[in-house]
Symmetry: C2
Subunit: 341 residues, 2 copies
């Protein structure tokens, strides 16, 4: 059996209706709601076919039909009309709080949750591909040094370093010079052991303390700052009864609390790279706790290798048109943020 235009129209009508109401859709409803001018009996025949083909499911004998994962997949891939939607301007969000990328991400994720009424998350952009822009080592007190590292894109890392013996001004100056001249402009990934050895050698005359300091600075650089993820609107899951039962809710809430699980859920997409938008429907999710959810992710790219992911989690009967449209718009705005300067 194969999909013809009429079946397509009927399937679309079923899904549209189900997305709206959340109730199984009967043949009579379709008969009235479409412009096909077919009786409910005819629709019934077609629906039986669609069920056999796996696009729709009957929860029980005397109920209407609901879309299966395959049905949603078909809808998302071929029927959906995701037009870009009007969204708030990222630039405004950035301007409000000068230069704090982190704060902007929090604002974005909050905005998205409010706009879509689903649970949302966003990962901070990756930095390990980024170039070092600036390193500053300063003495805070007798036995504490402060290392501040600025990475391309103006992300800042700092670390307090304990030192046993006091380091004099001259040495500080020399260390700073050394670190900056040797490391600036390098991507963090490019820094390797031989390089560190060379650095230490150049610091040479000074004893182990210097070596320790260099080690700490390097560690600060390569430190895989545990995946930074911001979330918002987790309570939105209670708006959808199919997710709001105790078991599901508890699982989802704790997933949204564990950054690692979140990172798992919104792994950077493997396919459809042209749009940067990914849709995972119900069972398509690899994470076992997400089998009753749909997840839509978008990868944003601030340039200079700073990529991050936005994720939206809702019920299977999520408003895919709206979500994908919104994500497209936001992705575009984020992508353009730093690019044209």
């Amino acid at each position: 059996m194969e999909m013809d235009e009429r079946k397509t129209k009927i399937l679309q009508a079923i899904i549209r209706n189900y997305l709206e109401t959340g109730e199984p859709v009967g043949s009579r409803t379709i008969s009235k709601d479409t412009d096909l001018n077919l009786s409910s009996a005819t629709i019934r025949n077609e629906m039986a076919d669609l069920e056999e083909m796996g696009y729709i499911i009957q929860p029980h004998t005397s109920a209407g039909r609901i879309p299966s994962d395959k049905g949603y997949r078909f809808y998302v891939d071929t029927l959906m009309e995701a037009k870009e939607r009007e969204v708030a301007d990222m630039k405004d969000m950035l301007l409000e709080r000068q230069d704090k990328l982190e704060d902007m991400l929090k604002t974005v994720v909050k905005y998205l949750a409010k706009d879509t009424q689903y649970a949302t998350m966003i990962t901070a952009p990756t930095t390990h591909l980024n170039k070092l822009k600036f390193i500053q080592l300063s003495r805070v007190d007798a036995n504490h040094l402060l290392a501040v590292v600025v990475i391309e894109g103006n992300m800042i890392r700092n670390r307090m370093i304990d030192v046993a013996e006091e380091i004099d001004d001259e040495t500080m100056l020399k260390l700073n010079m050394l670190l900056n001249t040797q490391l600036n402009g390098l991507a963090i990934e490019q820094i390797n052991l031989s390089m560190v050895a060379k650095l230490k050698q150049q610091a040479g005359i000074h004893s182990g303390v210097i070596g320790d300091v260099i080690d700490e600075v390097i560690e600060t650089l390569s430190e895989d700052k545990d995946l930074e993820v911001y979330t918002s609107g987790t309570n939105n899951i209670f708006k959808y009864p199919e997710l709001a039962d105790n078991e599901n809710a508890s699982r989802l809430i704790s997933a949204f609390e564990e950054k690692e699980i979140l990172g798992d859920i919104i792994q950077p997409g493997d396919g459809s790279e042209e749009t940067g938008i990914q849709v995972y429907i119900g069972g398509e999710n690899k994470n076992s706790g997400m089998q009753d959810c749909s997840v839509v992710t978008a990868t944003y790219d601030l340039g200079d290798g700073m990529k991050g992911t936005i994720g939206i989690v809702g019920p299977r009967r999520m408003d895919y048109d709206k979500v994908v449209g919104t994500l497209k718009s936001i992705k575009t705005k984020l992508d353009d943020l730093y690019r044209k300067e």
Copy 2:
């Protein structure tokens, strides 16, 4: 009518039993479970008295009794045996991740949630009373300066500053000198307008740019970094049916998402300052969303004015003994953390 020893014993038995089972407690149960050797009929008489006095409540005519807020209050104030409990060592948590207070707080709150099986939160210590230890202004590129501020207790703040015109090395040096000599050792609250004016005046010869920079640095200092709160174990609320219904759960989850609401809930205590532990039972909570919860808070003090609050949110029938005991122990450990050095 007044509380005698027998009534007290019965009330205690009712509460103990209810804390365990979560079911209304009947007269027969008490008759058997206590060493009073009284028939259920006698217990019934006493229970009627206790109800009249407001310590217990009957959900409906043919049910047992459950404690009222007043009953819990009596229990917490006079009957509870909160012995300090064995808890993990904070020092170990700190040692794991060198010097990052923030990470330790996250570890503590996670540990607490696991240990108590309630939802937990902890606020980062206040800093506005703290002294400036060190200011470092550095040039990142042609039109960006980076200001790094270290506060007593080694908390670090940084801010990127846009500058219109380039600032030469000499000026940078001078600015750093100026900021450090004038501001170090001051509490943030001590910095006022006349001081800033004086600073600007001293930077004198240089034009407005310097003024801007100083303004930004000052702002970084006084910036009331939006209340930093870490939470954990929010999904624990699903373990308690009285909190797990849709409405309550949704309200609680979103409360735990909004830092402002959290700050509201665990406001630093007003009474019982000798222990630093506060218990709010059900309706005693000011926050309207918390009327079905009990909240226990503890104020910790790292010294140098660095105070923060730990909060534990659970159902009314929370295991007060355990929670208060655990909080006491953790508070003690935190208080001692920096003190003896």
